[in-house]
Symmetry: C2
Subunit: 399 residues, 2 copies
């Protein structure tokens, strides 16, 4: 594939949550950026405190105080103590902080009852983060902690991967969009709307190219527009696919090489088409919404991640006991929708058998997905399986 | 708390991903909205096919064809067959579909070699979703599937919970914002930026009220503004908290009842303050970023979910083996940052011991959180624990 385009952009830090970091970010500051008091107390020369005890306190002269956020104008020295608070810079000429708990002040005299060693109770310059250290890595999807860290380093802006633009087209004479009035035997398009939401979820930018009627010329025109303007193109058949399967022939012709792959070892999701035209991957997604969602997962998600240059998985999974055997057809990778529930503090995964018509009900009924690999004939009742969550589970405990 | 305000809004479906559904959504259509062919073939009266076989086919007259998306103008009847495709309406006067595989056409004569029973290969009206059935429930956070379902029902807009407006204030003379030039001993604010990102993550709308200097009048003024304009108020101390702890006294005075709770049984996160003023919850978050993040998790997240009227947990967790014992102080709920890694196909959780200064490094180093409840003295090395993920893990297998 061609990737000549600049695929990065610099955006405001506050708008960068859940974006993919475009390159390793190194600190250009030390944290702390100066030696700082780690405790409230007095900055001293450690050696001056040696031998001090409750019975035999060392007495130093308090010569001043450093506020948080200011560069100390005062300088320490032998037999001198300077008041500091947690986080304030310690003055030149001092090398340790005596905690306030081990001191008593009488007039300008500081009584110290416990010795400190050099650099005790001091956060040394660069101790937390060193200048030039990589703090946020390329390819991560930013969390609130990452935003906090980048703020700490002084970044107002951050360079992230551009959102890949993914075109979404639906085809079908019977399709209308939500908001349109349903007449004749028209049905509302599901696939394109689901696909566009999945594109957003993955970190892409959906490019809505609407519904096209089932005719060669219109489909070809819309596909050409998509290929010209998007990074990836998806085209879905309607939910009802009959004799009018024009998309594959248009794709084959546009590719100029008849190199369309049509039909993949996936269940559901077999009638998926894959081809690259002008360096742009085109995926024709099956008409049945459940197949459509599975094909998106298998083909679109890795493609979007590839363009985002991230290896991060946005899937979360749990281990569960399978409530009954599910069979697999050899050579196919099968995606079984399951309903997770708790029984005696264990997760149980109940396979949902959707009849052909149970499109919507099976989309709402499942909250997780079990993947059976190509080389397995099935999974037995009672086996432990790892299932991928399709939506967050309700909270089970405090925290 | 007062909740007189309208807390719902109606937005475009395509902008509703990850929003909280405001009330049960019922279907106002049947899906399918008419009896439809579930297979490509011929709509017939089932009874006409009884007794048919390879050797003794039934012969019916083909009287027409129904296209997908059209209301059949043709009507079926005894000894008649009408061509249909998967998804097309079946005509009046027919009650079953014979699959094309079991037919042969000669001129206008259809030879049927296998009988069908009434309603075979037909998706009956409302079979998938019935009018008035609840299809998407109040309180869920919308996934791409939910968007697909709502599209299928014809919804162009959807009513979701308004994002609670959560004010974020930081206090500290030493703080500056990213983008400002770092001079003197100023340090960049971490907490407010992390908090605002966490608010977005939870589904709230951050209301940035900036940095306030450590003085009573300014803090009071900023808090009053926050209370007037936000649903929830957070106020963070800077990373360095010394003698100047003005926020609690301002809050106590504003509440008028001295009912500020200050200090909670949380580690880290002890110096959290909680109070309700004018019906608005105010949380003063600790200065240390790690404590700040824990206090946000414990107090802000449930508050935001409460205003969103959702029970959904956005946490994902995995089970792991603890690499070494962690102790707990009785009566405190302790949050231990851990680093998860794979060893021999098992997750190991390695506790990260952060020294006082390791603020940033511990934020970046941890990818999960172990919660030790108040009544536990610790967790032993090798014990299985459930840890909450702080960021997605890298993909481990195909799927």
């Amino acid at each position: 594939m061609k990737h000549s385009k600049v695929r990065k952009e610099t955006i405001l830090l506050k708008e960068s949550l859940d974006r993919i970091i475009a390159s390793d970010i190194v600190s250009n500051v030390n944290i702390p950026n100066s030696n700082r008091a780690a405790m409230d107390g007095y900055a001293v020369i450690a050696e001056d405190t040696f031998g001090s005890s409750e019975n035999n306190p060392v007495i130093l002269e308090v010569v001043g105080k450093v506020r948080i956020g200011e560069i100390p104008s005062i300088i320490g020295g032998p037999r001198k103590a300077i008041g500091v608070a947690t986080g304030s810079n310690i003055p030149k000429g001092t090398d340790a902080v005596v905690m306030i708990e081990y001191t008593k002040v009488e007039k300008n005299n500081l009584h110290i009852v416990k010795p400190v060693v050099p650099w005790q109770n001091v956060s040394k310059i660069g101790e937390d983060v060193n200048k030039r250290q990589v703090v946020v890595k390329k390819g991560i999807r930013t969390t609130p902690q990452d935003i906090g860290i980048l703020a700490a380093l002084g970044y107002k802006k951050v360079t992230v991967m551009k959102k890949p633009r993914v075109a979404a087209i639906s085809t079908g004479d019977e399709l209308i969009d939500p908001g349109e009035i349903q007449k004749d035997a028209k049905i509302y398009d599901i696939n394109r709307h689901m696909t566009m939401a999945s594109i957003i979820k993955m970190g892409g930018e959906p490019y809505d190219l609407g519904i096209v009627k089932d005719n060669y010329v219109d489909i070809e025109k819309r596909l050409k527009k998509a290929i010209a303007k998007a990074d990836i193109v998806t085209i879905s058949a309607g939910t009802s696919v009959g004799e009018k399967d024009i998309v594959p022939s248009v794709l084959d012709s546009l590719s100029g090489k008849n190199d369309l792959i049509h039909g993949v070892s996936l269940r559901p999701g077999y009638p998926t088409g894959l081809v690259v035209i002008d360096g742009k991957p085109i995926i024709s997604l099956p008409g049945y919404p459940v197949s459509n969602a599975v094909a998106f997962r298998v083909f679109l998600r890795p493609l979007i991640s590839y363009l985002l240059e991230t290896e991060e998985n946005i899937d979360y999974s749990v281990k569960a006991k399978l409530s009954r055997r599910v069979a697999n057809i050899g050579g196919l990778r099968t995606f079984v929708r399951v309903r997770l529930f708790i029984d005696q503090d264990k997760w149980i995964a109940e396979p949902i058998m959707a009849s052909g018509a149970g499109v919507i009900s099976s989309l709402t009924g499942a909250n997780a997905l079990l993947i059976i690999p190509e080389d397995k004939e099935g999974i037995d009742e009672g086996d432990e399986v790892e299932v991928i969550l399709l939506r967050p589970l309700k909270a089970r405990k405090n925290g």
